[in-house]
């Protein structure tokens, strides 16, 4: 199994520069994306129930090995990664091109899993793009995955329906946040992870033609979204508070009493 993970800034502690409104990404704490960890957890459970090896793949600019080791601490066996400045400008197209080659370089897999969307860009594109690039079918937004002999059975959840799909390997699956809760590695597992193999692959080893590395989208700017709110705290007991709230909403013109 191959699991794709992305190093992303921890959004919960991210700050912005009040003069430019841009995020201070250089100061952010790196972590692995939420739904990537869910995909990894799902792969680990498959490994525990049905066997197999879990290989983690990642691509980014200035990747931190300690962050990638968290995936190994959770129970993945090995890691292959590309860390290259080219990825700081990469769009979904370039990322998919690099990761599809990296997966081949790492020996290919029967099951390929990734998060439904990254925690920073939230493109929802990696799984479907890999599917087209690699010629492997893909099931997006999985909320459960089971193996039944050679058959992989996936339940996916869409806005207006849930579907159960079946396929044989090779198959790409994108994990919905609800597929599994990522385990917290124990101290013992963290220790064991330091001995697991990590292979840094140079981007030139992937044999990507120039146009496959040329982004089709350019980021011009990023700014924080702020909406001024009044932040009026209503105090008192439930009834008092309710009275005050209703009065305020009548004054605001949204309620009539």
């Amino acid at each position: 199994m191959h699991v794709f993970v992305k190093q992303v800034p921890d959004i919960s502690t991210l700050e912005y520069d009040p003069s430019t409104l841009a995020p201070r990404l250089e100061k952010a704490t790196p972590r692995l994306g939420e739904s990537d960890l869910v995909a990894l957890e799902a792969a680990l459970r498959i490994k525990e129930s049905w066997g197999g090896e879990v290989v983690v793949l990642s691509a980014g600019d200035g990747l931190n090995e300690l962050v990638l080791r968290e995936a190994l601490a959770m129970g993945a066996d090995r890691c292959f990664y590309v860390s290259d400045p080219i990825l700081s400008r990469a769009d979904a197209w370039v990322t998919a091109n690099i990761l599809s080659r990296l997966s081949k370089k790492a020996g290919g897999a029967d099951l390929l899993l990734c998060g439904e969307a990254s925690s920073d860009s939230g493109n929802y594109q990696l799984g479907p793009r890999l599917s087209e690039a690699m010629g492997i079918p893909c099931i997006t937004h999985a909320v459960s995955v089971e193996l039944d002999g050679k058959v992989v059975r996936v339940r996916r959840s869409l806005e207006d329906r849930t579907e159960i799909l079946e396929s044989e390997a090779p198959l790409i699956i994108t994990a919905s946040l609800e597929l599994a809760s990522p385990r917290l590695p124990s101290l013992l597992m963290i220790k064991a992870a330091s001995k697991k193999p990590m292979t840094r692959v140079d981007i030139s080893e992937l044999g990507l033609e120039k146009d496959l590395l040329e982004p089709l989208v350019e980021r011009l700017s990023v700014r924080v979204l702020k909406t001024a709110r009044r932040n009026i705290v209503l105090d008192g007991g439930p009834l008092e508070c309710a009275e005050r709230l209703v009065e305020s909403l009548v004054r605001e013109g949204v309620l009539r009493a």
Binding site: I11, E163, E218, E243
Partner: protein, 316 residues
């Protein structure tokens, strides 16, 4: 001259996406819609040149729709393909884009033409930020975050309708063994004036009754945070608001037992007034609310219902 192809499964989606084509001054606009959507009157006043009607649109999986879209885009030379930000369209567009060596942007909140090139904005970093992106190659495929935009009315024009036959499901590598439709309930959240929204502060499913009563009293629609729909299954997925759900802009948004993470707040940022009911004074929602009620919802909601009843208060 830019030609645009709109993909939409519902009339409301088509209407909203039509405004996007206007924003970039597109002249030549076509649409691909389910054949069930034929409403000649509305369609012909949208200023569309051509509408493709696809039988079985809804049931056709993205990996099959890819072929139709690629075919159309290649034949007609569309510079831009737009669709609603829903899971199926995001997948369809990403696949089509990879195939055509094209850019795909999901969840766009705006699109403009700047000195001849397309510039889009979309949520970034969980929705607390916006990124502004220049599109470097056409055709580009964009899913648009629906927010209730409405197109200008136009004179009725001539409209060519082209029927596309049902596709055979060729990809035998994926088998759909079961499909469960989720029953639609209530009105469209995007149009609601008042929304009562529930989060994990509710301990049991039965307790949502309180919120339903409140919503009914206010003539409000009921919405929820993502975990209430997706983790707990207490509400249908189409009722969850936020980054990965609906984006709404009611006059009044009452968030009950919701912590207010960025991924939630981005979907309600355009509300006129936000009321937060949360007994943890350090919950982020209190910083993003107009009125904060730092009380236990189990005590406050019954009190609010009582006061509203006594006063005979209703939505203005």
């Amino acid at each position: 001259m830019m030609t645009v192809l709109i993909l939409a499964g519902e009339l409301d989606e088509l209407l909203e996406l039509r405004t996007v084509a206007d924003q970039i001054g597109a002249q030549d606009v076509e649409a691909l819609v389910p054949d069930a959507l034929v409403d000649g009157d509305t369609l012909s006043s949208l200023g569309l040149k051509r509408v493709y009607l696809l039988e079985g649109f809804e049931e056709t999986p993205p990996e099959e729709l890819v072929k139709i879209v690629i075919d159309l885009v290649k034949k007609r030379g569309h510079g831009l393909v737009v669709g609603p930000s829903k899971k199926i369209y995001r997948e369809l567009f990403a696949r089509t884009a990879q195939n055509l060596s094209s850019p795909c942007l999901t969840d766009c909140t705006s699109l403009e033409s700047v000195e001849g090139s397309l510039v889009a904005e979309r949520p970034f970093l969980g929705g607390g930020y916006v990124e502004r992106l220049a599109i470097k190659r056409l055709p580009a495929l964009l899913t648009i975050q629906l927010m209730g935009r409405r197109p200008q009315t136009r004179e009725k024009g001539s409209l060519e309708m082209v029927r596309l036959g049902r596709l055979s499901t060729e990809d035998l590598r994926l088998r759909r063994v079961a499909v469960e439709k989720v029953e639609r309930r209530g009105a469209d959240l995007a149009k609601a004036r008042v929304v009562v929204s529930v989060g994990r502060g509710f301990k049991r499913r039965e307790d949502l009754k309180m919120a339903e009563d409140l919503a009914q009293l206010l003539g409000a629609e009921l919405a929820c945070s993502r975990p209430i729909a997706s983790d707990l299954g207490w509400m249908p997925e189409e009722k969850h608001v936020g980054l990965s759900g609906k984006w709404i802009s009611p006059q009044l948004y009452i968030a009950i037992g919701i912590s207010g993470q960025v991924q939630h707040m981005v979907g309600v940022r355009n509300s006129r007034i936000i009321v937060a009911v949360n007994n943890d004074t350090s919950a982020p929602i209190h910083r993003e609310a107009d009125y904060s009620v730092p009380l236990d919802l189990y005590q406050f909601i019954p009190a609010l219902i009582k006061v509203l009843r006594e006063r005979g208060a209703r939505v203005a």
